[in-house]
């Protein structure tokens, strides 16, 4: 086979595989939209479920997911940002730093169901929060930390070293340099990581199974020590645990959940590209 022919053949095969990867993604999204769009109306989004959840809306699940997402943000963001600053700006190449990095790599790899177990053991039982929003937020918050730390650290590292050197050479202190020269420029990347982490938290089921999620509660939560419904768990319940559930409600719920997480994902990439375009270094 001539070199030119093997080149053409290889490109054709690689392209074929790429089609196999990307077309299903479009198909999945399209299929969900087509099947679920019919269920979406004002009542579906704003009403309580009725008649054993077979009628009415999914409002408490949507609200629950939004509350949990905010709770996750409150738990995860400050600590993650500070940890990223530590790793990027303060950590020296020593045993402690290597241990921290190893710990973060491991946190990122721990299965989400194991986070659920941890949340159950630590927050629900040992801390005595019971099945509650605070226990769920803590669990989800800890679970998102490695993603946020990694992206934030990367963003901080991508700020050119010379800005730090210049700032220090002008007599600024280390924290002043971080505060005025590093963080502003790393902000797009940090935000991107945070939103992506939240998008992941919003769609997770396993960590909330035993820590916060309620099968059905007829009222909205009134304190952080209440249980709440949440979209991912609700979708699981209505598709596998409730016989005779109308398909449109199932598709509608799946679509709403998808729209929430995808909005966050797209928001994250949007932040990244616009702010990247705006910077002039």
């Amino acid at each position: 086979m001539s070199r030119q022919r093997s080149q053409r053949l290889a490109v054709a095969l690689i392209t074929a595989v790429a089609v196999l990867v990307f077309v299903p993604v479009i198909a999945i999204i399209g299929y969900l939209i087509v099947s679920g769009i019919g269920a979406l109306n004002w009542e579906f989004l704003t009403a309580m479920p009725r008649n054993g959840m077979k009628e009415g809306g999914i409002m408490p699940a949507i609200v629950g997911t939004l509350i949990l997402t905010m709770g996750t943000a409150l738990v995860s963001m400050p600590v993650s940002l500070l940890a990223a600053i530590y790793l990027a700006e303060y950590a020296r190449d020593n045993r402690l730093t290597r241990t921290i990095r190893m710990a973060i790599v491991n946190l990122a790899g721990i299965p989400s169901i194991v986070y659920g177990l941890f949340g159950l053991g630590a927050f629900v039982l040992a801390a005595g929060f019971g099945t509650s929003i605070i226990a769920g937020s803590l669990t989800l918050g800890i679970m998102t930390m490695p993603v946020v730390i990694s992206t934030a650290e990367e963003a901080i590292n991508s700020v050119p070293q010379q800005f730090r050197t210049v700032s220090l050479s002008l007599g600024a202190s280390k924290w002043q340099t971080i505060r005025h020269q590093v963080l502003p420029h790393a902000l797009p990347g940090i935000l991107t990581g945070m939103i992506l982490g939240l998008s992941r938290a919003a769609g997770e089921t396993a960590p909330i199974l035993f820590t916060v999620a309620a099968f059905y509660v007829p009222t909205l939560p009134s304190s952080i020590f209440d249980q709440t419904m949440a979209l991912p768990y609700h979708l699981y319940v209505i598709s596998t645990q409730v016989p005779g559930m109308p398909l449109t409600i199932q598709y509608g719920t799946a679509l709403v959940l998808l729209l929430i997480t995808l909005t966050l994902t797209l928001l994250a990439t949007g932040v990244r590209t616009t702010m990247r375009r705006r910077r002039d270094w």
Binding site: R92, D93, Q162, F163, R164, T165, V166, S167, L168, S169, L170, G171, A172, S173, Q176, H180, Q181, H185, R279, D280, W281
Partner: protein, 252 residues
């Protein structure tokens, strides 16, 4: 006359054992243009960064010997390193404005030092730009991005940024390396005037540049100081064979 900066028996060793500087000693006098020259990797830039302790950024390196500034050691625990860096300011090889406006660049160091007085800040902006011969070119666009300036303007802005701190010593690390001949000339001509007010230590772009600007010069090779002398004497009558080889060699 008390030397402005005195370097006595300085050794500087990296964590992996490489010796960047070996037994370097010399004095820099007030209000002179002192030039450190030599081939690449001879330790010039390393030495420069020791003087305002930007070398602190390098992990695991060890300094031995004494460096004094106005007679006092700069290495002790009691030294305010941020104040030191304002008094011994540095301009880098690559023009590196901070992202932000021209004004922001010029006032940054002062603001970090706690200077809030707008009138003083404005005064310093104009003064330093005048001294760096940049005022006429940028006075109407102080609030536009510093990144939009040309290479030569950027470097003069960096110089002005140092001057705004009213330092005592200015370290110039090959400041003309990225500049066109015209901008290079401007910077070189500025040096003599600046030395009336400041002490200048410079790593030059070439031997020719060293010869043009130096009051006194030091030749460095492989981390060692080979020879220090008045500029004219060093470049016309080098005492050491290695200095002569370098100055007259094929590689300028």
């Amino acid at each position: 006359m008390q030397p402005k900066i005195s370097i006595q028996g300085v050794y500087y060793t990296y964590g992996d054992g490489t010796e960047a500087l070996r037994n370097v000693s010399f004095d820099v006098l007030p209000h002179e243009v002192f030039v450190l020259f030599g081939p690449a990797r001879s330790g010039k830039t390393t030495l420069l960064r020791l003087l305002n302790r930007l070398s602190d950024l390098t992990d695991d390196a060890t300094l031995r010997g004494v460096i004094t500034f106005n007679g006092a050691s700069i290495s002790g625990r009691s030294v305010d390193v941020f104040d030191l860096r304002r008094r011994i300011s540095m301009v880098f090889a690559v023009p590196t404005p901070l992202p932000g406006s021209i004004r922001f660049n010029l006032t940054y160091g002062l603001q970090m030092a706690g200077m809030r007085d707008r009138r003083v800040l404005a005064e310093r902006v104009e003064q330093s730009l005048q001294q760096a011969a940049l005022w006429d070119e940028v006075k109407d666009r102080l609030d536009s991005s510093a990144m939009a300036l040309s290479g030569g303007q950027k470097q003069r802005l960096c110089l002005a940024r140092s001057l705004a701190l009213e330092p005592e010593v200015i370290l110039l690390d090959n400041p003309t390396s990225g500049l066109d001949p015209l901008s290079t000339n401007m910077v070189e001509e500025m040096l003599h005037d600046l030395s009336q007010r400041y002490t200048i230590i410079m790593v030059p772009h070439s031997v020719q540049q060293a010869a043009r600007v130096a009051d006194r010069a030091a030749f460095m090779l492989d981390g060692e100081l080979i020879e220090v002398a008045k500029g004219e004497r060093l470049f016309l009558h080098p005492q050491d064979q290695r200095t002569e080889d370098y100055i007259t060699g094929r590689f300028g």
